[in-house]
């Protein structure tokens, strides 16, 4: 069953008189528990796709269905609520709230989803421990290494047990070793049933998915099923 299905999604950026058609009628579907990589040259519309399908951005035409509901017909508040309840995000590095400690960052989505404070703290701590950061709970982001920061971000995306995690170049700012650690973590969680949509430039990262979607000039130009390299 498709957990998410996009039909004819179109996105145009307007800045002054200029118009950039970043997505031109994109169709896309992801099954529950699937891991999809999105690749393509810079400027091809990968980030735009991720933003539009996750509801972070509005679209100009088409529809994004989540089961029987259409994402873009929801109000902003509903979409926000939906994100808090069932989505997680991982961006390139440095996306933590600098005035909050690691554990405070991770418990944020839990609190937003309405969890009890003590419960949230416990689950955030557990998730960070799982990321191998038990000794870094109380540190602020600027006291962590890039890899550590990104692991906190992953923890934050996962702590709320979302159905879908959207990742935009999660390893873009990391060295290959750290990148591998982060990706292993994601693979493990995907093995537990998490749906993963990962935008990446890294061929190695891209090839670990079930499916690899290629984009060019705002269009999906290929969609191939991959043989899993490793689990």
């Amino acid at each position: 069953m498709a957990i998410l299905e996009a039909r004819g999604v179109r996105k145009v950026y307007r800045s002054g008189a200029q118009e950039v058609e970043a997505l031109r009628s994109v169709d896309f579907a992801a099954e529950a528990g699937e891991w999809v990589s999105v690749m393509g040259p810079s400027g091809s519309g990968k980030t735009t796709l991720l933003n539009c399908l996750s509801g972070l951005d509005d679209i100009d035409a088409g529809a994004v269905l989540l089961g029987d509901r259409e994402l873009h017909s929801m109000s902003d508040a509903e979409r926000t609520q939906h994100r808090a309840a069932s989505m997680g995000f991982i961006f390139q590095a440095y996306n933590l709230i600098p005035v909050f400690s690691a554990v405070e960052n991770v418990e944020l989505p839990l609190l937003l989803a309405g969890a009890d404070a003590r419960d949230a703290r416990r689950r955030a701590t557990e998730t960070l421990e799982r990321m191998g950061l038990s000794h870094r709970l109380r540190n602020r982001p600027n006291e962590l290494s890039g890899g550590e920061q990104q692991r906190v971000t992953v923890a934050r995306a996962l702590a709320g047990r979302p159905q879908v995690v959207w990742a935009d170049e999660p390893t873009g700012a990391l060295d290959s070793e750290t990148a591998a650690i982060v990706m292993d973590l994601l693979a493990e969680l995907n093995g537990e049933g998490l749906t993963l949509i990962v935008v990446t430039h890294d061929e190695g990262v891209g090839r670990r998915a079930h499916r690899l979607v290629q984009m060019r000039d705002g269009l999906i130009v290929s969609d191939e099923r991959l043989a899993r390299v490793s689990a």
Binding site: F89, P98, V99, L108, P109, E143
Partner: protein, 943 residues
């Protein structure tokens, strides 16, 4: 101006000679016009206030000057004698000198004037009028400019009068009407043949009022009235007026030379030349200056807030560009260039801001003076000074330059301090780490401690509150930094800031107890010390405060987020809190003072009136026969001799004009005004009786001889010897001050025995004033004025005189508060600027939060909570400190005893509510724009 240019030169050079730096500076300024506008608005306010303080002084100066011209015109010097001795001046009247372009003889006397109907009832009366005799043809040629004399037409003939406009207005008469003048127990009917303006000689007034109720009469009229005086009255006087060569103002330069020539002509006589014009101009200058100083001193608090805002703005600018600047450094830009680029950008803002501020200052001054004019208009009409708005380009220049100097110093200092970052730390946005103080730093701070201790000691021995406060402050700051790595930070901060706070509150009481007084500088130092100490203390415990608040809110996420930023950026928060605290402090302080003074009617009435209930003034040339008042229902009557004296304070060579009053034993037995310092005497009565029996003693009030605005400057104290001189006869006497009263709201001037004044003034010392005790003061006053209009009687219940005075004082406080409210605008604008920048800085973070499912409404809540938290802390500190200080001052009695501490609930609630509302409104824009941030857009922003 030269300073401003010299200061700007380096920046202009940088902007011209270094294209890269220029581009950096200009681009940043132009890229975001709205924020540039905010920065400029924020930094212009301090300049506006300083300029306004100067222009207020200018206006007051110009108003007094303008009045000097209407009452003097071409007259520069005057020599006067009693009419009986007129021949003494003959020699002077014939004086010719190239320095002089006018010599004029005149005879004058005080009189009262009234329009009396056939039944003998006055339909209109001018209790304080003046009769003058002079030759109009000669008067017109006096000085270089006939129109400046105000004199036209021919000399009035017998039974005729040429009257000045104010008298015509007061009596509601015009050309052709008749009125009666009263003096020396006689009267004369006069027909108005001409109206003259209050200008120049036509406005010449020998009294101290600002209005000239002049009636020019036929030569000989005054002598006839005085010939068989039916009463004991001050005799008429004969004067010679002299005009220095040159215009109305430029003639002043010749004053010394002319006085010299006149003295030669008067050799062998006791007559003293009065430099009336010079004195009037001098007074205008002093009064203007003192008003400027007062407004500047109080405005200082708002200016300090402005400086803090400027620092904050610049640090935020720098923080925002930190990685950009770090990158530039990494690419090899020298630190000096970096400072240059950054400071040049700041200079650009500063120049524009100071120019705008200067103009805004004119507006502020205009408003202040409009308020002042309203207050002046409630004075006795005779003392109403017409306010003429005026400013000098010099004032504008000084305002601009001061603003620019402050801004540039702030900007350069901030630029230098932020350029000293670690490149890596900047690129990664790390906090710069603190290292242990170097040895020399410790030594330097040790020296500061020593300096502070020395100052403190010196302050205590000399009772100087400024030194005491400064010394304590330095000692605390020095200790804090010298021992930085020896004692746990928190303990050290708590102890040093805590003791500075306590000392700041206590020092004033200690100084007053030791016998010192509270100068306005002490007040400023106290405010600054207290605010710094309190803000440091609160900052130290910010974590606990935030934690408690967040727990109170049930750990709501928006509250946690809202508090997280101010707690993380402590130094920025500290500056903003201080910005609010310092202005709120002074406003609360003034509000409490106003409330305390405003509620003083009963006690002040009892103090200034003693056991009397009505104060009576009358014409010296025709005084009220006070002996008859008992029959008219008065329970007690104490007549006072009232004269104008040249008073020379101890160690001074120049005299100041002041009233002196002489009392007799009836004053003591009636129950005289209460003394505030009775010196070595057991009771007030002892002091009064001593003065009665010792002709070489006197008492004065705390404001005696002080010409400035603001708190008493105590020109004369107990034990001082002052010289009292009769300006007419030149006779003088030394008197020793033996006691003091708090103020002289009834206008007696210094007090001595009537006998003392008679011995100096001879027949001119007449009892023209009186304290009267009656059952019903209002109706008695009314009847008295009606019955004794010929004597120019003016009677007022003492209580209502006090009420008027208090209400003027309260209004003056209100005016000060309005002026300082501009400082609150600084605080509010500051929080607006800071929140706008905060939203900009955190757009990406907001994007992340929104992507995590943080609702838009909560984003704006978090920003609003952040702003309110900061504003509230600042306001609270200010309110608490304001109360603490005023309360401690009432304990020490430094504003006079009987003043009880009062919380002006409405005023303070309005102040607090208004400030917080303002802060909320200022935050509303940025907070709602934060809520509108689109996550997809924000996430694309590079940090």
């Amino acid at each position: 101006m030269i300073i401003a240019i010299a200061l700007s030169l380096p920046f202009i050079v940088i902007l011209i000679a270094r294209p890269v730096l220029r581009r950096l500076a200009l681009r940043n300024a132009v890229r975001r016009p709205r924020e540039t506008l905010l920065v400029i608005t924020g930094s212009m306010l301090a300049t506006a206030l300083m300029t306004a303080a100067f222009v207020v002084g200018d206006t007051f100066d110009a108003s007094l000057r303008a009045n000097a011209y209407t009452q003097l015109g071409p007259i520069d010097e005057v020599a006067s004698v009693p009419l009986a001795d007129a021949s003494v001046l003959d020699h002077l009247a014939a004086l010719r000198s190239p320095q002089i372009d006018g010599v004029l003889r005149a005879t004058t006397t005080g009189a009262s004037a009234a329009v009396v109907n056939s039944a003998g009832i006055a339909s209109a009366a001018a209790p304080k009028a003046q009769l003058l005799e002079m030759d109009f043809a000669a008067a017109r040629t006096f000085g270089g400019d006939a129109s400046a004399t105000g004199i036209s037409g021919t000399t009035p003939g017998p039974g005729q009068a040429a009257i000045a406009q104010p008298l015509a207005d007061r009596l509601h008469i015009g050309v052709g009407s008749t009125f009666t003048a009263f003096a020396f127990g006689h009267s004369v009917q006069l027909r108005v043949v001409q109206l003259l303006p209050q200008r120049g000689i036509a406005g010449w007034w020998t009294g101290r009022e600002f209005v000239s109720y002049n009636a020019f009469v036929a030569p000989g009229t005054i002598a006839r009235l005085a010939a068989n005086s039916k009463v004991v009255a001050a005799p008429p006087q004969s004067s010679v007026l002299v005009s220095n060569l040159g215009g109305v103002e430029s003639g002043d330069a010749r004053t010394a030379a002319v006085v010299h020539t006149m003295d030669a002509a008067l050799a062998g006589t006791p007559v003293k030349v009065e430099t009336v014009k010079h004195d009037a101009l001098d007074l205008a200058k002093t009064a203007g200056k003192s008003l400027t100083q007062l407004y500047q001193a109080l405005g200082f608090f708002a200016v300090a807030a402005g400086i803090l805002l400027l620092i904050n703005i610049f640090r935020m600018l720098a923080e925002e560009r930190r990685s950009e600047l770090g990158m530039l450094r990494a690419m090899g830009m020298k630190r000096r260039s970096l400072v240059g680029a950054f400071a040049s950008e700041g200079w650009l803002y500063a120049v524009v801001a100071c120019a705008v501020g200067m103009l805004a200052g004119l507006g502020v001054a205009r408003l202040v003076m409009a308020g002042a004019a309203r207050i002046f208009n409630q004075r006795d009409p005779d003392f109403r000074l017409p306010i003429r708005f005026h400013f000098t380009t010099q004032s504008l220049q000084i305002g601009f330059t001061l603003g620019l100097v402050i801004a540039v110093i702030t900007i350069v200092a901030t630029s230098v301090s932020i350029s000293r970052f670690n490149i890596i730390a900047a690129v990664r946005d790390l906090d710069t780490e603190k290292h242990a103080p170097r040895r020399w730093a410790r030594v330097a701070w040790g020296v500061v401690v020593l300096l502070g201790a020395t100052l403190l000691f010196a302050g205590i021995t000399s009772h100087g509150v400024v030194a005491m406060l400064l010394g304590g402050g330095f000692a605390a700051v020095g200790t804090r930094f010298a021992l930085r790595d020896r004692i746990a930070g928190r303990l050290l901060v708590t102890v040093t800031a805590g003791s500075a706070l306590l000392w700041g509150v206590a020092a004033v009481s200690v100084a007053v107890a030791l016998g010192g007084d509270l100068p306005i500088a002490g007040f400023i130092v106290q405010g600054v010390l207290l605010v710094i100490a309190a803000v440091v203390l609160v900052t130290e415990y910010q974590g606990e405060i935030g934690g408690a608040l967040s727990r109170l809110s049930g750990r709501r996420l928006s509250v946690r987020l809202g508090l997280a930023y101010p707690l993380a950026r402590r130094s920025r928060t500290m500056l903003t809190i201080a910005q609010f605290a310092i202005v709120v402090f002074i406003l609360v302080y003034i509000s409490v003072l106003a409330a305390m003074f405003g509620s003083q009617t009963d006690s002040v009435t009892a103090k200034v009136g003693g056991r009397a209930t009505v104060y009576v003034e009358s014409n010296r040339a025709n005084p009220v026969p006070f002996g008859q008042l008992k029959a008219a229902g008065a329970q007690a009557v104490a007549p006072l001799v009232n004269v104008v004296a040249d008073v020379t304070p101890p160690h001074a060579t120049k005299s100041t004009k002041s009233f002196m009053s002489g009392f007799d034993s009836s004053f003591v037995s009636m129950g005289p005004p209460v003394l505030s310092d009775r010196g070595r005497f057991q009771t007030d009565a002892d002091a009064y009786n001593y003065v009665l029996s010792h002709p070489d003693t006197a008492m004065v009030d705390d404001f005696f001889l002080s010409q400035g605005a603001g708190p008493p400057s105590a020109a004369v104290s107990i034990g001082d010897v002052i010289t009292i001189t009769d300006p007419l006869s030149g006779r003088s006497q030394h008197v020793t001050i033996v006691a003091r009263s708090q103020n002289d709201w009834l206008g007696n001037g210094g007090l001595t025995s009537a006998a003392t004044l008679r011995s100096i003034y001879g027949p001119s010392a007449v009892a023209s004033h009186a304290y009267v005790r009656v059952a019903s003061s209002a109706s008695f006053s009314h009847t008295l004025e009606a019955r004794y209009y010929q004597q120019g009687a003016k009677a007022d219940p003492i209580r209502s005189l006090v009420e008027q005075r208090l209400s003027r004082q309260t209004q003056f406080f209100t005016l000060m508060r309005a002026f300082l409210a501009v400082g609150l605008v600084i605080g509010v604008a500051g929080i607006g600027v800071i929140m706008v920048r905060a939203v900009r800085e955190r757009r990406r973070q907001v994007g992340v939060l929104r992507s995590l499912g943080f609702p838009a409404a909560q984003v704006s809540n978090a920003f609003a909570i952040e702003a309110m938290f900061i504003a509230m802390e600042g306001v609270l500190i200010g309110v608490v400190l304001g109360f603490l200080c005023t309360w401690s001052i009432t304990l020490s009695n430094s504003f006079g005893d009987g003043l009880s501490f009062r919380v002006p609930v409405t005023a303070v609630s309005l102040l607090v509510g208004g400030t917080l509302l303002g802060a909320l409104l200022a935050t509303w824009g940025p907070a709602s724009s934060a809520a509108k941030i689109k996550p997809a857009v924000a996430l694309r922003i590079a940090d």
